[in-house]
């Protein structure tokens, strides 16, 4: 599609590790963080450099990581552990502090392990499992306040309200931009693909946030200038919606297979994807307000919710499937990611007649053909349904 801004983003990424090295020499500190509820605005407002960490798809690193945990743990956690063990990743090796939230308890265990085995300085942000209750909110407010105090000590400076307000504005704008890009990628005559939006999100893990916002806005301008009318190809396409466990940077197996087989990904409700940018409304520039806003977003599947009817994550999933005009859902679960695996059957029930395929996998390539067959059959099923519908 030839969007020049995408090339600029790639170039910025390439020079980022060297840039960070320079910044560290000037006394700046880098905070790597995982996973969903870390209030990055506070890290940024304290003059620290936030880097979102976590990659997937590398079977070798999974094996390295498994030596310090077990083969019975989530592959994402194992790979992260492998990265911390090897310290060759240009970002991981430059981290001065690692902040992990306890949304996913296996990631909390990761924090303990990298602290113990690899000497990384770490801090933990507790997250309430009863996130929808008043007491859960109270608890999280205190956790974020405490977290802020620890960061202040680390940064050697106190949090200023004006700086936080500024940070919130930048991040609000980033979120809006990502949402805009998602809308564009789902159009019939889309100016960019879901995959390209995904790589833009991944770039945002590492780039300076202000630079990133500027690039995003530039990208949107470029898209809008060249947006053409028209309804796109007449060929029947299978519009696929991705749900389930995260698909982090580097984990391309499923995406490659879907695209190779002619499926088109048109949206997702992944916590590593769109969900992260939705419904975050920080009312005031205070840690308490930030805490409330984070807890009130689309919930993460690792936080249990006991009532089906009022489940916000499911409501959002149903809404997004319609918004993106998806034909079917591929529900991707990682082995030992109990949070999403245990809910596969339930999600299928809730979605009713929406075609639903569960892919349960990990980061090795040995099940490539098996996944291919399943996805291909699913696409055949969807296309055949659409063909019949067109004839009627």
């Amino acid at each position: 599609m030839g969007l020049k801004t995408l090339d600029k983003i790639t170039a910025a990424l390439e020079s980022r590790p060297a840039e960070l090295e320079q910044l560290r020499k000037q006394g700046k500190k880098i905070v790597g963080w995982l996973a969903y509820n870390i209030p990055e605005e506070i890290i940024y407002a304290l003059g620290l450099i936030p880097i979102r960490i976590g990659q997937g798809g590398d079977g070798r690193l999974v094996e390295v990581g498994a030596r310090h945990i077990s083969t019975k743990n989530c592959v994402f956690v194992r790979q992260a552990l492998g990265q911390f063990a090897e310290k060759t990743d240009p970002y991981i090796k430059q981290l001065d502090l690692v902040a992990i939230d306890a949304t996913c308890i296996q990631l909390y265990r990761l924090e303990e392990l990298i602290n113990f085995y690899f000497d990384y300085k770490t801090i933990v942000l507790g997250v309430p499992r009863n996130f929808a209750t008043t007491e859960g909110h109270e608890y999280f407010r205190k956790e974020v306040e405490f977290f802020t105090k620890k960061l202040e000590l680390f940064a050697g400076t106190a949090l200023e309200q004006s700086r936080l307000e500024e940070a919130i504005s930048i991040y609000d704008n980033i979120r809006e931009a990502i949402k805009t890009l998602y809308r564009y990628q789902s159009l019939d005559n889309a100016p960019l693909s879901w995959r390209q939006v995904s790589s833009v999100i991944n770039a945002g893990y590492n780039l300076d946030r202000l630079t990133y916002l500027e690039l995003l806005q530039e990208l949107i301008k470029e898209i809008e200038k060249n947006l053409s009318a028209g309804t796109g190809s007449r060929e029947i396409e299978a519009r696929i919606f991705l749900s389930g466990s995260l698909i982090p940077p580097g984990d391309t197996k499923l995406i490659d297979i879907i695209e190779q087989l002619g499926g088109r990904i048109v949206g997702d409700d992944l916590w590593s994807g769109l969900n992260f940018f939705l419904n975050l409304n920080i009312q005031e520039p205070t840690p308490y307000s930030v805490a409330d806003a984070y807890l009130d977003r689309v919930p993460h599947g690792s936080l249990p919710y006991l009532d089906l009817e009022s489940d916000g994550r499911l409501a959002n999933l149903k809404h997004q499937i319609k918004e993106f005009n998806a034909d079917g859902v591929v529900y991707h679960t990682l082995r030992y990611c109990d949070a999403f695996t245990f809910k596969a059957g339930e999600t299928k029930d809730v979605l009713g007649n929406v075609p639903f395929l569960e892919i349960h996998t990990e980061y090795s390539g040995s099940d490539f053909e098996a996944i291919r067959t399943r996805v291909e059959a699913f696409i055949e099923m969807i296309k055949s349904k659409k063909e019949i519908a067109e004839l009627v």
């Binding site: 082995r335 596969a344 059957g345 299928k348 075609p355 639903f356 569960e358 349960h360 996998t361 990990e362 040995s366 099940d367 053909e369 098996a370 291919r372 067959t373 399943r374 291909e376 059959a377 699913f378 055949e380 099923m381 055949s384 349904k385 019949i388």
Partner: protein, 269 residues
């Protein structure tokens, strides 16, 4: 000899066997079944050639060929490739139009498929990356007990007891089996337990897609009477008697789809 009529072929190359079915217009004309080798192109061609030989035809006489099974990704002799899920659906519907649910157990995977009255797939589920519910697992067990694969079912049915087994993995199940043998457990009782354990895995797939009568059991493992009984008990259903060798269903479906593609592309003579 003048060949009259349209001939369509389906070739299903699986991990254990390659199968072929030739339709003459709408009727089954010939079939072929060979053991799969390490070269899936060759395996597919061998199966196809066997069917052609039986039919007294040459490859050029075929109007359209569809390849399926894991070997479909390398089937240069085929006009198109379609997954075995779609093929099993069409093949079953062709022979048994009242069937709405298919259990397929092949060499390396098992499937639960729901179909509509026209044989279109409406839903399906397959086993996860694990051989504990597949033909390969039974092959391993036949090796452990040093019996023929085709005798496993009747041995299991002769059991007087069922040893409870619940391994989630073939390798673990094999170790479990060896330990039980060492403790003096009767082979038929262990095999009975194994068949029930596999049936549990199958039942798990159906909790995702549901079951509606009539129910059909396809794939090589369908010829195992012990497996059929265990599945009927686990799912509380009655399985219809197959009109042909259930291992040929995928190839049959591929041939039916070949016929449909040929019609759509205006290739019927």
């Amino acid at each position: 000899m003048t060949i009259s009529g349209n001939y369509f072929a389906g070739v299903d190359v699986g991990s254990l066997a390659a199968k072929s079915v030739i339709l003459k217009d709408g009727e089954i004309f010939a079939t072929g079944l060979v053991q799969s080798g390490v070269n899936s192109v060759e395996s597919g061609l061998n199966a196809l050639n066997l069917a052609l030989e039986t039919a007294g035809l040459k490859k050029e006489d075929l109007t359209y060929i569809v390849g399926t099974g894991y070997g479909r990704v390398s089937a240069p002799y085929a006009n198109k490739a379609v997954t075995e899920i779609t093929c099993h659906a069409k093949g079953t519907n062709y022979l048994h139009p009242t069937v709405r649910t298919i259990i397929d157990m092949g060499g390396q995977d098992c499937k639960a498929i729901r179909i509509d009255p026209d044989g279109a797939v409406v839903d399906f589920a397959m086993n996860d990356k694990c051989a504990a519910g597949t033909g390969r697992f039974l092959e391993v067990m036949a090796g452990v007990f040093k019996v023929k694969l085709e005798d496993l079912g009747s041995i299991a049915l002769s059991a007087t007891d069922t040893v409870p087994m619940s391994s989630t993995c073939t390798v673990f199940a094999e170790s479990e089996t060896i330990s039980l043998v060492a403790r003096g457990e009767k082979p038929e009782n262990i095999l009975n337990g194994i068949h029930h354990s596999i049936a549990n895995r199958i039942a798990g797939l159906f909790s995702r897609v549901g079951i509606e009568s009539d129910v059909f059991f396809s794939g090589g493992v369908a010829k195992n009477s012990g497996m059929k009984t265990a599945i009927e008990q686990a799912l509380k259903v009655s399985i219809v008697k197959p009109e042909i060798d259930p291992q040929l269903i995928g190839a049959l479906g591929a041939a039916v789809i070949a016929r449909n593609f040929a019609k759509k592309e205006g290739l019927w003579a």
